[in-house]
Amino acid sequence: MKKPLVSLLLSALLLALCLAGCQKTGDPRREEGVIAVGIGQDLNSSLSPYQLTTAGTREVMFNVYEGLYKPAFDGSLVPALAETVAVSDDGLVYTFTLRGGVTFHNGKKLSAADVVWSYETCRDTTTDANVKSILTGTVESVRAADDRTVVITLKQRDGDFLAYAASVYIVPSGYDKLDTEPVGTGPFRYVSRKVQEEIVFARYDSYWGSKARLKQVTFKVYESGTALVMALDAGTIDMAAHLTGAQIKGLSDRYTVLEGTMNLVQGLYLNNRVAPLNDVRVRRALAYAIDTDQMMKLTADGRGTKVGSAMYPAFGKYFDDSLTDLYKTDAARARQLLAEAGYPDGFDLTIIAPSNYTPHVDTAQVLAEQLKAVGVRATVREVEWNTWVSDIYAGRQFEATVCGFDASTMTAGAMLNRYVSDSSKNMCGFSSPEYDALMAQAASLNDDARRTELYREAERVLAEECASVFLQDMADFVAVRTGLTGYRFYPLYVMDLSTVGWEN
């Protein structure tokens, strides 16, 4: 009868395929200067420089796009497409002279007209509210004095303007395929992509600065944590960033693990509009009840850096370490504050965490247990990312949520503006006249030392008023195949691969 014959044929086919697949794949990558980088989320957004909302896309596209200035790995701003800048005494007129010999990935030479077009397109289409308010509110005009000089005039002084200049990426004027085939001036140029599979960059050989060490980088997408770990164990990928404590434990010695910070402030953000969280004593009670050290030990083997306010250490001068232990864990003090505020036997609290960020979900579970110890009946509810952004972040329908806020530009405002009472990004609904005054004063000054002092003062108000319970800047583990050197951590959420290469 036909049946057994068919199955015989099939098993023979399977056997043949097994042999075909078994030959050991050699390791050509090292010789050709090619690496594969594992990323946990596809670049699921347009690749246009002005639509880079998801952090995962922003960190990768850092290798393709550049602005007039560029952040260096120590957080300072260095000249990029602009060779020099002259700022008028009243701080309102910035004159940039463009660097000579710079070309875009499609070979077109950089000119002032490209800069003007880029600024106008950015002003009209950017999805980043901060940048948009600067380009529409603060910037008066952007014009090309001549082919290699761009003059930007401001309506009012802004000490941080250079940092914003770094975040407006320059693209060839009139180029309309930015969404799908990006063209920039960076050390790597975009080659190709397959949705949910991989994105391929190649070294841009006529880059104006020091060329990238690698010939080609392929970012491989692994949406499942287990799949990423299996790829690491099997050696399919050479590098992977943002790994959790659990994922690096027991990693084979084929990789070395570098530890940096995620450059964000993870916190239990409280909705100050909602009772009982509108009472500062209740918020302080929560801060006293929470033991960040125990939480960090449980979720990341104790790694990560504690913070006391809405600023993370990599910001350098703005970070005030003295606030870190303002609320030393003290359950008795927490109970007493709760009693004072009229909640002797605690209250119900729902902590919401975005389900696609496991570290935030883990933290929320640990915090819930710690709060139960002082009588606050906390439960954790997970919410899908899209729902978190629209209902919680924008909709503000929450009591407490665990998430992390990062800075898209190297400006103190990027972290502190959201607590100004009338700011459209004020998720927590925190409002303190003293805080608003300090922030307004700092923004208007040009003297950097005085501004830094005002920002630190503002952070102290946030800590003392306990706008939210600020926890940590989480540890960021990067596994790099041994022999691959040069990876450097930035204070921003970026993955600079231009300095990475194989040891010879």
Binding site: N44, S46, V389, S390
Partner: protein, 311 residues
């Protein structure tokens, strides 16, 4: 013929209903604006973007427009990736279809001989052992099977490197090789079920009187089974496989994630997450057509194999 006509008509009507319901679903679970803007969302920016994308227009209008384009073959552009939907879906659909097909072939190739073999040995110890094994195999969640397969064949025996996927555009043999394990993870619980079912229906057929007459004409139990019983025993299996092929597709999403296979299931899951309506609509419709066609083929096959079955 009228019967087929009627069936096709209901199929079309249900397809339309499915496409409209999934389109309307997005009224409830939100639109892509939140994903696009992310934490930079401000109420004004959100309203502006919604207007630019035409999402503020009434639902029936948008659905009608989408359907009209879709009929014309234009699947529209992804709200999130800004790529033409047809381009994104093409290869992924092929990958998932091939994986499901391999799973079906594996199921038939293994369970038909196994079922028949067990039917012949009914009651013997080996039959008891396999029946228990079958029950256990049916009880194991598919993604658990996937992880175990990867650990055993991938990490321990190093037969394949986990996390690697070779597109068929690159090399067919390697592609098929890497697809064996995901297909096996999808197929394993089905193999157990189909074997059990085939064994049961084969036994039933063996009990029928036309087999007794076959014995009297000198057939041994083995040849009787081969000549007559198996063909009739195949009927329930065919309809079972038809229903299962559709289910295998849905089960595949989890497997695709674990084996990082860029299939249609993964894209559907992530597109729903980012509320990428055009992509979801196209996939939902294609999957619905697939499910319906399979049921239709199952019905027709059922009728050909056994005219007594009146549907």
């Amino acid at each position: 013929m009228r019967y087929i006509g009627k069936k096709l008509l209901t199929l079309l009507a249900t397809l339309l209903a499915v496409s409209f319901l999934s389109y309307a679903a997005f009224e409830m679970i939100g639109d892509p604006v939140a994903t696009i803007l992310g934490t930079n969302a401000t109420p004004e920016a959100a309203a502006q973007l919604r207007a630019d994308m035409g999402l503020d227009r009434p639902l029936p209008l948008r659905y009608g427009e989408w359907l009209w384009h879709f009929m014309g073959g234009d699947m529209g552009t992804s709200y999130i990736y800004r790529l033409p939907v047809r381009e994104m879906i093409g290869e992924k659909l092929a990958v998932t279809l091939i994986m499901t097909l391999m799973a079906v072939i594996l199921t038939v190739a293994v369970s038909v001989p196994a079922g028949a073999w067990l039917a012949r040995r009914e009651g013997r110890p080996v039959d008891k052992v396999f029946t228990v094994l079958n029950q256990i195999l049916m009880a194991v969640p598919p993604f658990f099977v996937a992880v175990l397969l990867t650990v055993v064949f991938g990490l321990l025996l190093r037969v394949f490197t986990p996390g690697r996927f070779v597109p068929y555009t690159e090399s067919w043999p390697l592609f098929l090789f890497y697809m064996i394990f995901p297909a096996l993870s999808v197929a394993l619980p089905r193999i157990a079920m189909t074997t059990k079912m085939l064994r049961a229906s084969a036994l039933e057929e063996l009990g029928r009187d036309y087999i007794l007459t076959a014995y009297s004409r000198g057939h041994s139990r083995r040849s009787a089974l081969k000549a007559h019983a198996l063909k009739n025993a195949m009927l329930p299996v065919v309809t079972f496989l038809a229903a299962n092929a559709a289910e295998m597709l849905a089960g595949g999403i989890v497997i695709e994630q674990l084996f990082s296979v860029p299939g249609i299931g993964r894209l559907l899951l992530s597109s729903i997450g980012t509320r990428d309506i055009p992509v979801v609509e196209a996939i939902v419709l294609i999957l619905a057509v697939w499910v319906m066609l399979i049921h239709l083929i199952g019905d027709i096959l059922g009728q050909i194999l056994d005219p007594r079955v009146r549907l």
